[in-house]
Amino acid sequence: MSFFTQLDFSVLAPSLPFIWTGLKFTVTLTFIAMSGGIILGTLLALARLSALAPLAMAATWYINLMRSIPLLMVILWFFLIIPLITGYPMGAETSAIITFTAFEAAYYSEIMRAGIQSVPRGQVLAGQAIGMTYSQTMAHIILPQAFRNMLPVLLTQTIILFQDTSLVYAIGAKDLLKAAEIAGKNYNRPVEMYIFAALIYFAICFLLSRLVKQFQSRIAIIR
């Protein structure tokens, strides 16, 4: 087997700036989708738990819809089909940001719902008893606790989100994977580039999941 002698990682150095641009997009996309997704997801969770039946039903439908179709389908819907309906074509990058925010909101909302439901009922009653309105009780008592309880799970979901961003490949947005592919084509070294991209993904995800684990045990001690 003479393969390892053929591997030539010297092409990595010149392609680094290119890969870096891709990685920056991947990270930006992850961060925007995470922030937007958690905010939207919290609202969705509140809607789903609301006493207003139509609102709760609409939220439930949205969440179930997003969770039962492949992310890839959602990406293609937003990129190819929504512009057909609205008449405004979108760039791949913008489309990706909107898609991931809308899609991840459904997943984050289920986490937030579990978080809200994990707060003892007495806390809501206590809030009401001291004269707080619904939104005050939520904002000052329930959500901070729910958020804290669910922080490790929210972060784990974010690691999954980070991995899933590689699917923007399908609409040609230039993320880490796409950058690696293009660099691989330019230098005619696709094998090395795919391995390199996989290593970057692995290093980041592995490190983050270790951090989440440590963090989890720290939170567990405090409570």
Binding site: M1, S2, F3, S68, I69, P70, L71, L72, M73, L76, W77, L80, I81, L84, I85, T86, G87, Q163, D164, S166, L167, Y169, A170, L177, E181, P190, V191, Y194, I195, A197, A198, Y201, F202, C205, F206, S209
Partner: protein, 245 residues
């Protein structure tokens, strides 16, 4: 919105050939189901073994199994797919490598099944481990105490209960595998997503195409869910919380 609806498009012939668009979509559905089910077999078999190994009292085996899970869980599925398709064949001896690249039958399908199966097996392994660890320690000890060997304890005492406990999370994984099979389009497996893109370009009836394909994914998820619910119901052990109606 000036979209020209045409639901009859599915019965029309594709631009180059005898087939109708419906044929394309149904072919795609067939490949999606084939990829998902074949990968599921690999995932459950391998996942059970790896998950079990993570709980045995042998440090070396635990380390190996843990590394396996971490490796497959921390690289995106699409990247793994490209690794299997473009990179792994390069590591074989030259003749075999050439054969894989040029002559291997159903190369895309086999690669997709292998990749998706191994990817999902790491997730199944995590569920199996959680299931085993959720059992009271006494079960394990009781098994050993009545003279069963360690493998026998696993086979007759621990695993039968652990598998029943993890049916709900396994149901999600089973539904996920249908959804995840959509990435196979990237290496040219002619499954639903592939056919949707192809049909949209060929017919320019994007909305109908994507609605139909999305509906089919829905149906897959629904049937997967009901199927697992049936197994869950049939395998209940009387006297446990899950069996109380």
């Amino acid at each position: 919105m000036s979209y020209h609806w045409n639901w009859g498009i599915f019965l029309e012939q594709v631009q180059a050939g005898e087939e109708t668009y419906l044929d394309w979509i149904l072919t795609g559905f067939g490949w999606t189901v084939a990829v998902a089910l074949s990968a599921w077999v690999i995932a459950v078999l391998l996942g059970s073994v790896v998950g079990t190994l993570r709980t045995v009292p042998r440090q070396g085996l635990v380390f190996l199994a843990t590394s396996y899970v971490e490796l497959f869980r921390n690289v995106p599925l699409l990247v793994q797919l490209f690794l299997w398709f473009f990179v792994v064949p390069e590591f074989f001896p030259q003749d075999l490598s050439l054969w894989i690249k040029q002559d291997m039958p159903a190369k895309e399908f086999v690669t997709a099944v292998l990749c998706l199966g191994l990817f999902t097996s790491a997730r199944v392994a995590e569920q199996v481990r959680a299931g085993i660890q959720s059992l009271p320690r006494g079960q394990h000890m009781a098994g050993l105490a009545i003279g069963l060997t360690l493998p026998q304890t696993y086979r007759y005492v621990i695993l039968p209960m652990a598998f029943r406990i993890i049916i709900p999370p396994l149901t999600s994984e089973f539904m996920n595998i249908f959804k995840n099979s959509s990435v196979a389009f990237a290496i040219g497996v002619m499954e639903l997503t592939f056919q949707a893109r192809q049909m949209q370009e060929d017919s320019e009836q994007g909305i109908e195409t994507y609605l139909a394909v999305t509906l089919l994914y829905f149906i897959c998820a629904f049937i997967a869910n009901r199927g697992m619910a049936y197994i869950e119901q049939r395998s209940r052990v009387p006297g446990f919380i899950a069996s109380a109606k």
